[in-house]
C-alpha cells in the first residue's frame, strides 16, 4: 500500500502539532467570589381546624384568648445564607365572629423577641383568605435566637351580645407554609 506522503512524516507532524498546541485558555477562578446560588425551600407549617368548644372553658363560658407553642427546630448552620422568610397563611372562618392570629418568637428565657407582622385578621364568615407575611432580611437574625414559636388566637366579642355554645358547628380553619430563601454565596 502506498501513501501519498511518508506516513512516518505524517505521524511525526501530528505529534509535533499536538505537542506545540498544548495550552490553556484564560480562566478566572476569582469569579467564585461573585457566585451565588439562590435556592428556595418550601416547608409545610402549622394548620388548625377549631370548633366552638376550643373557645369555651369548663363552665361553657367564652374565652377570648387561647395559645399554643412549638419548639423551634432552627438550624444555626444556615445562618449566613438565609436571606428571606415568607409565610403564606390561608384562613377560612364560618364563625360570625372575628379572630386575630398572632405568631410570636420566644428566646430561651421565654421572652418574646419578635412579633410576626402584620397580625392576621380573620373576619367573621369569611371564605378563603390568603395572607403573605415576610420576615425581612434585617430581621432574619432574630430567628437564630428563637427557641419557641407562640401562636395566639383572639376571639373578638360579638356585636349583638350573643355567645358561643358547644353545639355551634362553625369552624375556624387555618393552613400555612413557609418559603425559605437562601443565597449561597462566596462558595
Amino acid at each position: 500500500m502506498k501513501f501519498f506522503m511518508n506516513p512516518n512524516k505524517i505521524i511525526a507532524t501530528l505529534i509535533i502539532l499536538f505537542s506545540l498546541h498544548s495550552c490553556t485558555k484564560d480562566v478566572d477562578f476569582n469569579q467564585l467570589d461573585d457566585a451565588n446560588i439562590h435556592t428556595t425551600y418550601l416547608v409545610t407549617l402549622v394548620h388548625l381546624n377549631l370548633t366552638a368548644i376550643k373557645f369555651l372553658n369548663e363552665f361553657n363560658q367564652e374565652i377570648e384568648f387561647t395559645q399554643d407553642v412549638i419548639q423551634a427546630p432552627i438550624e444555626v448552620n444556615s445562618e449566613p445564607y438565609l436571606e428571606k422568610v415568607e409565610f403564606t397563611v390561608i384562613t377560612e372562618n364560618t364563625f360570625d365572629r372575628n379572630f386575630t392570629f398572632n405568631v410570636i418568637f420566644y428566646n430561651e428565657f421565654n421572652d418574646p423577641i419578635y412579633f410576626l407582622q402584620p397580625v392576621i385578621t380573620v373576619p367573621a364568615n369569611s371564605s378563603e383568605l390568603i395572607t403573605v407575611i415576610e420576615i425581612p432580611k434585617e430581621d432574619i437574625a432574630v430567628i437564630y435566637d428563637t427557641k419557641y414559636f407562640g401562636f395566639s388566637l383572639f376571639l373578638s366579642q360579638s356585636t349583638d351580645g350573643s355567645v358561643l355554645s358547644a353545639s355551634d358547628i362553625a369552624t375556624l380553619d387555618l393552613k400555612s407554609s413557609v418559603k425559605l430563601f437562601f443565597n449561597y454565596k462566596k462558595l
Partner: protein, 456 residues
C-alpha cells in the same frame, strides 16, 4: 480554602472509565498483558522499572468542564452556572482512577508460554449524581408534585493493592490464550448503589401541602473508613493494608488473541471477575422507610400541651429508620470487557526490494470496544485505531474514541525500544490540549521497562 477545594475538585474531575484504549494491544508492551492476559508479546524476559513501569491516571466528569464555569469571557459566572445546570443530563457521572505499578516482571517458559507477574496499587472513585439532586440543591423544592429521586445515586471509592500472576500460552498457530490470577488487598472501601427513594411536595388535605419521603432505601457500606480505637491511618497502617493485611479478595482475568486469516487479528479479554470480602473496620449505614408530614396541627389545649416538635421527630424516627450495621459484606469488582479486530498491512523492503521481515507489518488498523459493567455504573466506548511501526525503535498508535464523555476523543501513544530499554507514553483527548480546562475527560499512561526480546 473552600474555593481552592472546589477548583481542585473541578480540575481533578476531568475524565474516567479505566478504558485504556491506546495502551490496549499496543506495541507488544508488557503492560498490554494487564489488559489482555492472552496478548501476544515477543519478549524473552521483561522487568518493569520499579514504581514507574506504569503510572496511569484517568479522570472525567460528564456534566460540564472547568472552562464552562470559569472561562474569562466577560459572562457573569452565575449565568454560566445556570447554563451548566440547565444542560445537566438525567444523570451525570464523575470518576477518577489512578494506578501505580510497583513491581512488574515476566519471562518466557520452556514451553514458549509467557509468565508475567507484578503488584500494583489502585485508587478508584466514581460518583453518579442524578439531576434531581442538583435541582433540589440549586432550585429548591418549590416545584409542586416534582419527585426528587435518589434512584440513580451511586458512589464508589476504594484504595487497594493487587498482586497478580498470569500466563499467556500459544494454543495453536491461530490462537493464543491467557489468564491472570489476582489477589486484592483493600485499604478502604465505601460504596452505595441500587438506592431508591424520592422526596416530593403535593397539595395537602388538612394543610396547604403534604411532604413525602417515599420508598426510601439507602445503604452506604464502608470498610476501613472508620477505624477502631487505637488505630491510626498512618504510613505503617496503610502499608500493612496494601500488603494483605487489609480486606482480601480474589480475581481472574481471561483473554485471547486469534488470527482468523493472515493479517487479521481478533482479541478479547474479560478483566476482574472477582470479589473482595470486607470484614475489617466495617461500618454501614442503612436508611429505610416512608414518611409524610402535613405540618403541625395546633390543638390549643392549654391543659394538655402537645410536644409538637418531639412528636414529629419521634414519628419521623419511627418511619424512617436509620441503622448502623457492622456486618461484613462482599462487593464484586467492576468487570471490564475489551475486544478488538484489526488488519495489518505494509511490509518493509530493503533498497533492492527484498522483504526484510515477512512476519512484521508496518501498519495496523482496527476497531476496539470497551465496556465496564458494575452495579454502580456501566460504561461503553468504541475506538478506531491506526498503529504504525515508525522504525525498529519507535512505534506509535493513534486512536479515535466515542464514549459518554465525548465523540471527539483522539488519543496517541509512542513506544520506544533502544536495546533493552523501553519507554512508552500514551494519552487521550488530545484535541482538548488546546484548552485543557475545557476537557471533560483525560487520561495518560507512561512507563519504563527493560525488555529482552525473544529471538524466535
Amino acid at each position: 480554602m473552600r474555593k481552592l477545594a472546589i477548583v481542585i475538585f473541578l480540575v481533578g474531575a476531568v475524565g474516567y472509565s479505566q478504558n485504556k484504549q491506546v495502551l490496549y494491544d499496543f506495541a507488544g508492551l508488557p503492560q498490554t498483558l494487564l489488559l489482555n492476559p492472552g496478548a501476544e508479546v515477543d519478549n524473552k524476559f521483561h522487568v518493569g522499572f520499579p514504581l514507574i513501569s506504569q503510572i496511569s491516571v484517568q479522570a472525567g466528569f460528564t456534566g460540564f468542564s472547568v472552562y464552562d464555569i470559569f472561562a474569562d469571557d466577560g459572562i457573569n459566572i452565575n449565568t454560566k452556572i445556570r447554563d451548566a445546570v440547565n444542560n445537566y443530563g438525567t444523570t451525570e457521572f464523575m470518576a477518577f482512577n489512578q494506578q501505580l505499578e510497583v513491581l512488574s516482571g515476566g519471562f518466557r517458559l520452556k514451553n514458549n508460554s509467557y509468565l508475567s507477574f507484578g503488584y500494583y496499587q489502585e485508587l478508584d472513585f466514581l460518583a453518579k449524581i442524578p439531576r434531581d439532586i442538583v435541582d433540589l440543591f440549586y432550585d429548591g423544592n418549590t416545584d409542586i408534585n416534582r419527585r426528587y429521586s435518589i434512584n440513580k445515586l451511586a458512589f464508589r471509592a476504594e484504595l487497594f493493592g493487587v498482586l497478580h500472576v498470569g500466563l499467556s500460552k500459544r494454543i495453536n498457530n491461530k490462537l493464543q490464550a491467557g489468564a491472570r490470577f489476582k489477589i486484592y488487598s483493600s485499604v478502604f472501601n465505601a460504596s452505595t448503589k441500587l438506592n431508591t427513594g424520592s422526596f416530593y411536595t403535593e397539595e395537602g388535605t388538612n394543610n396547604m401541602y403534604t411532604q413525602h419521603l417515599e420508598n426510601v432505601n439507602f445503604l452506604m457500606q464502608t470498610s476501613g473508613v472508620f477505624l477502631d480505637n487505637g488505630e491510626d491511618a498512618d504510613g505503617s497502617y496503610v502499608k500493612s493494608k496494601f500488603l494483605f493485611g487489609g480486606d482480601l479478595g480474589l480475581g481472574l482475568d481471561l483473554g485471547f488473541t486469534y488470527h482468523p486469516k493472515k493479517q487479521w487479528i481478533a482479541t478479547g479479554s474479560i478483566l476482574d471477575i472477582g470479589f473482595v470480602k470486607y470484614s475489617k473496620n466495617v461500618r454501614s449505614y442503612s436508611v429505610k422507610g416512608d414518611y409524610e408530614v402535613e405540618g403541625f396541627q395546633l390543638i390549643f389545649d392549654p391543659n394538655n400541651p402537645e410536644d409538637y416538635w418531639n412528636d414529629l421527630k419521634d414519628k419521623f424516627d419511627n418511619s424512617i429508620v436509620l441503622d448502623t450495621l457492622y456486618k461484613s459484606y462482599i462487593t464484586l469488582r467492576p468487570v471490564k470487557l475489551n475486544g478488538s479486530i484489526s488488519y495489518s498491512f505494509g511490509q518493509e523492503y530493503d533498497d533492492c526490494r527484498f522483504l526484510i521481515n515477512p512476519k512484521v507489518y508496518l501498519n495496523k488498523v482496527g476497531f476496539q470496544l470497551y465496556s465496564s459493567v458494575s452495579a454502580v455504573h456501566s460504561y461503553v466506548a468504541a475506538t478506531l485505531f491506526f498503529e504504525r511501526r515508525l522504525s525498529k525503535h519507535l512505534q506509535t498508535k493513534i486512536t479515535y474514541t466515542a464514549d459518554p464523555y465525548s465523540f471527539s476523543n483522539i488519543g496517541a501513544g509512542l513506544s520506544t525500544q533502544l536495546g533493552i530499554f523501553n519507554a512508552y507514553f500514551v494519552a487521550d483527548n488530545l484535541l482538548s490540549l488546546h484548552n485543557l480546562y475545557d476537557a471533560k475527560s483525560a487520561s495518560f499512561q507512561l512507563g519504563v521497562n527493560f525488555i529482552i526480546k525473544h529471538k524466535n
